[in-house]
Symmetry: C2
């Protein structure tokens, strides 16, 4: 009900009378009044004017269930939101929820993480109230081999959401980092639980540096936040909504095609170092080649003197001429 | 200490004096006496004769930590045993232990399972004290793609252990069921938790029907127990020891080669329906072909009119001329 009131208040161009609110939701005026008070406590500025009714002046930058759901237009992505003030990591929480039967499309969101995770056990700085820390639970009917492509779908959806909401140019560092002005602004960590031939669930974790004024010194040469790049804050729930909308669209294409044939063009348009020389650091060898783009299986095609190589393994690190990217 | 006393008692050909036992372990006679009493309570028949000492007459069919560890000669497989009277399923318990940091090679064993699992969410009948219900925790440094081969390594080790201990001919139904006299006697369920490009852990669950007098009617046409086939009971800890020994040997070959090139010969020797016509039931098609054996990647090669096909997906069901196999 809170979600419905929020949705009406946000979308109503003018003041809406208490009477109208009650009728459109089908509850008593007291019930509406109580919820309005609760919203005010959460930081929503809602004006109440005699004879005119309620009007939302501003909404806080929070990522609660109501705040996100009241913005959604998706069919299944994020239809169930599990919000936490703090979790160890949203991926860990999402795994626990998935084990306990959470549905495909459930989104775990937290305002902070006490043990945010990056790839390969690295940590991810997650201070309160400044970042998007979210993990989407997916239960695709796919062979586990196909799942590595999913992480590219997540990357593309995140890049598109950033572009739409901030106007910044979001580039993708293969396979799944998002880079703005040559610095990393999003990390994606996809984990899964499988049998040998079928997936129990996938947890796609997305961490976005949104409103941090500055980043820890150890990383501020290679990482940035949207606020640093834009010079102003971005509403996190707005970003999440956009991500879910793009993700749902792209996921359905991926699910239908079982590959990235309908996503590789927009992905490659954003691929940093496309057409440039990159250094490939493998476990056993190191070489330089020209990055051509991904193929429909999500592998990175690199042109070498003796032909074109397809890189699939995360063991490999791809470097451009700059420090990070 | 219990494990060490057990090991000495089991391997000593004659009576061993209390004095000698104390000295070889370095504890007091009272301590030895207490442990002997504890062992008797667990069902070990230990004779104590004045002036001669202790002698183990028989040991019970139990699968406790001491009983298994006192038999082990492996380097890492099963060096840590976690024994439970009852768990939901050893795979679930092993996953929890792995999440909490259990080491590579840790074995979870239970005397019964309240919710034993088969592949694809099927249940596995697990009455108290009659079966081997165990799950081995592995933390291989492998790309997740390679893990499907692991399940064949487990199958081969289980088949070899059954043969050695029971003398029965154990055949493998690709990829990982073990069949005795054309009926299923072992089920293997391998699950894993991964990032896209690296494995957190693998849990290899093995369920062996050992000492059941009879099986539930729903399955007794296609499944059997070792006792039914042998006409006598088999010691479960002895089976577990043999499994761990073979598994360690085969795993090290697999780890070194990153494929089954040194295991495919013994695997194929046990492959039921090798050289026979089999029916392949895929999601979209159904056809008949001749099963040739596995290749070094663990795929089943099937000869059709228009060439040889390699079957990798568990979506596919392979049937011979008989009901189950």
């Amino acid at each position: 009900m809170k979600t419905r009131i929020l949705k009406i208040l946000r979308n109503y161009p003018d003041y809406i009378s208490g009477q109208e609110l009650c009728e459109s939701i089908g509850v008593s005026r007291t019930a509406v009044w109580k919820i309005i008070n609760k919203l005010k406590e959460e930081g929503y500025q809602i004006e109440a004017v005699q004879n005119r009714g309620y009007h939302m002046v501003s909404c806080p930058d929070i990522v609660t269930e109501s705040e996100i759901v009241s913005r959604l237009s998706t069919k299944w992505a994020g239809k169930k939101i599990l919000y936490f003030n703090e979790v160890d990591s949203t991926n860990n929480q999402a795994k626990r929820e998935a084990e306990n039967g959470a549905a495909h499309g459930t989104l775990v969101v937290a305002d902070s993480q006490s043990a945010g995770k990056g790839r390969r056990g690295r940590s991810w700085s997650s201070p309160v109230g400044t970042g998007v820390f979210m993990s989407l639970i997916l239960k695709p009917e796919l062979h586990p081999e196909y799942a590595s492509m999913l992480t590219l779908v997540v990357a593309l959806a995140t890049a598109r959401a950033l572009e739409e909401i901030t106007g910044l140019s979001a580039m993708i560092k293969w396979p799944n980092d998002i880079v703005v002005n040559k610095k990393k602004v999003v990390g994606i960590l996809t984990e899964m639980s499988t049998e040998m031939e079928s997936i129990h669930y996938v947890v796609a974790g997305v961490g976005i540096n949104v409103n941090m004024d500055k980043l820890p010194e150890e990383i501020n040469k290679t990482a940035t936040s949207l606020r640093i790049e834009l010079g102003k804050p971005t509403n996190r729930a707005v970003l999440i909504e956009a991500f879910l909308r793009y993700f749902e669209e792209y996921y359905e294409k991926f699910e239908r095609d079982k590959d990235l044939s309908n996503l590789m063009v927009p992905y490659n348009e954003r691929l940093i170092n496309k057409g440039n020389m990159v250094k490939i650091l493998g476990t056993n060898e190191e070489y330089v080649g020209k990055a051509l783009g991904i193929n429909k299986r999500g592998g990175l095609l690199v042109e070498r003197e003796n032909g074109i190589e397809m890189i699939t393994s995360g063991e490999v690190s791809v470097r451009g001429v700059y420090g990070y990217v």
